[in-house]
């Protein structure tokens, strides 16, 4: 396993498209993205946990799997999202946890963010191991932190995570790949592209009678509820699309 550089936009778009394809869709449908239906096409379960932290995640996973999981993460501050994905010789455990006291739109973003790590970072590493015919397995974890722990509404996040090799069923603490800021940014971009598909946004905007050169400050509010995302997330997305 080697850490890769920041993924180009095309890779993120391909990963998002594969999510739709894996769920049996040719392309995104108009309106709210059926996020939980899309996630359901993967062997990952999603749960909402109160007071989510790494220790809460350990506790939850232990209850759910009957085994105390390795995490490869330090710290125990409040989290908005958490990904645990473990694979070794056909055995797989995949779980996304989100803080259930967050707003619904924030929870959806957290789920999409963690799915982004799974698609962008976990799957390629597994594919590489398979290609190398390695006996190793893989454990990947990601903890999505609040930019401001007091503000659960903001989706401005940072995160920390790691990818650890698994040999003979044992998670090895080294060499660990630490999730970089770039990878967190990629997961955020993945979430934005997934929840607010550019094709659908452009179609929608075409029907909103937007006049060139006229103010568009209201657009984010207008579209946020149509896509069941926060206004803040929509502001960023529209800016990224230069709309």
């Amino acid at each position: 396993m080697t850490p890769s550089d920041s993924q180009p936009q095309s890779v993120i778009r391909q990963a998002v498209q594969s999510v739709w394809t894996d769920a049996g869709y040719d392309a995104p449908s108009a309106g709210i993205v059926p996020l939980f239906e899309l996630v359901a096409s993967y062997p990952i379960w999603v749960a909402e946990v109160e007071n989510l932290s790494i220790s809460r995640a350990v506790h939850y996973l232990a209850e759910r799997t009957g085994q105390t999981p390795e995490m490869g993460l330090a710290g125990d501050g409040p989290l908005s999202g958490f990904l645990y994905a473990y694979q070794y010789r056909g055995s797989f455990v995949g779980c996304i946890l989100v803080e259930n006291r967050d707003s619904v739109v924030r929870r959806r973003f957290s789920v999409a963010h963690e799915l982004g790590h799974y698609k962008l970072h976990f799957e390629p590493m597994l594919a590489q191991l398979a290609q190398d015919q390695s006996d190793e397995g893989l454990l990947i974890t990601d903890a999505m932190l609040y930019a401001d722990p007091k503000d659960g509404s903001s989706e401005l996040t940072s995160g920390e995570g790691s990818a650890l090799p698994v040999r003979t069923g044992v998670v090895l603490p080294q060499p660990a790949i630490i999730m970089s800021d770039e990878k967190e940014a990629e997961a955020n971009q993945f979430a934005a592209v997934l929840l607010m598909p550019d094709t659908i946004l452009h179609e929608r905007i075409a029907t909103l009678h937007l006049i060139p050169g006229q103010p568009r400050g209201y657009l984010a509010s207008r579209l946020a509820s149509e896509f069941l995302v926060s206004k803040e997330a929509m502001v960023y997305r529209l800016a990224a699309l230069e709309i």
């Binding site: 939980f36 006291r101 707003s103 619904v104 009678h209 509820s225």
Partner: protein, 348 residues
């Protein structure tokens, strides 16, 4: 889950009696925040006297470059039509509404509808519920022409207070109505425009530095004036205004504002018949306006006052805004048919 969401959480109909009075201009319009009021911007406090606006000689509003020819209004017709129980068992209201925004244009004396958007929306506090179930419900009602407006709140603070939840649902609908009004403004924000309500609530529809968009506020929940100014306000005659003053707020654009009496017919209460006009102060400065602007704008608004006595809020209304409201009303479906549709699809 989908449409079963309502039934699964113990949905109950709530028919009749929960319709709310008009809330245009309530204190939630940002009027409660801390602000500095500069009263001596046009006149020294010692010289606050009524300023007649019908004395602008040899001039007709239609000949003035800044005469507003676009009028923006919104409408929110709806009520709490059902309630469900949160997973903890607390009642959570569901508000179903039709909301719309419209732009009317005055063309050679005619008032024509220029633009409108109308939507059916369901607003409710949703953060108590699992996100996958809320998403599924939102998707399902989307298929029936309703849009879910998630009303976000602090869970621990409000869950047990039904009245608070109800007001949050109401407020969320109202915000959406104002977003539609902003969309209407933005269709041609470079043309002089009057918006029904506070400018702050419509800031997403225009550029405060370059767009001649002015607010007219009919309800007055806060007094900005000094005692002499307040007495002056109560004593205004029709077509008179107070001197202008400036409201400076934290993190919001400063506003130039004044009161204008548009109706002093006998029988009105002392605090009726006047509106408060708002102009973005930055626009006023960057466009090099003077107090003649305030007189002319006031005169134009006075000319457009509602003279339709049968209209319940005629004393504080402008005719084009009344027409806008009527125009939007004609685009709405009957309330009962919408409510019945919701009951039918959710099977409650």
């Amino acid at each position: 889950m989908g449409l079963d969401f309502v039934r699964n959480y113990g949905g109950s109909r709530l028919e009749g009696g929960s319709s709310l009075p008009d809330q245009f201009g309530t204190p939630t319009n940002g009027e409660e925040e801390r602000q500095q009021i500069q009263l001596d911007i046009e006149r020294n406090l010692d010289h606050w006297t009524a300023i007649p606006v019908s004395q602008v000689n040899q001039w007709r509003p239609g000949q003035w470059a800044y005469s507003p020819i676009r009028y923006i209004d919104g409408k929110d017709v709806g009520q709490i039509i059902a309630w469900i129980r949160s997973p903890e068992g607390y009642p959570v209201p569901i508000r179903l509404s039709q909301v719309g925004g419209v732009a009317m244009r005055v063309i050679e004396g005619d008032i024509r509808r220029e633009f409108f958007q109308v939507e059916k929306v369901i607003s409710m506090p949703v953060d108590f519920f699992p996100a996958d179930e809320v998403e599924s419900f939102a998707l399902a009602i989307q298929g029936h022409g309703f849009r879910l407006l998630p009303a976000t709140l602090s869970r621990s603070e409000y869950l047990m207070n039904y009245e608070k939840l109800r007001s949050i649902a109401d407020q969320r609908t109202r915000e959406e109505m104002m977003t539609l009004e902003e969309a209407a403004i933005a269709q041609d924000a470079g043309t002089p425009t009057i918006v029904d309500g506070a400018l702050d609530a419509h800031a997403g529809g225009f550029d405060k530095n370059t767009c001649p968009v002015f607010g007219v506020i009919k309800r007055h929940y806060r007094s900005y004036l000094h005692p002499a100014g307040q007495l002056l306000l109560y004593g205004l005659r029709a077509a008179e205004r107070t001197p202008a003053f400036v409201l400076r707020r934290e993190q919001r654009p400063a506003l130039l504002t004044w009161y204008l009496k548009i109706n002093d017919e006998p029988g009105l209460t002392p605090d009726s018949g006047y509106v408060r006009v708002e102009v973005a102060y930055d626009w006023f400065i960057t466009q090099h306006m003077d107090w003649d602007f305030a007189d002319r704008l006031s005169r134009t608004l006075y000319e457009y006052r509602c003279r339709q006595r049968s209209y319940s809020r005629a004393a504080v209304s402008l005719h084009p805004i009344v027409r806008a409201e009527e125009s939007l009303g004609s685009l709405f479906s009957t309330e009962s048919s919408i409510y019945q549709r919701f009951y039918r699809v959710t099977e409650i």
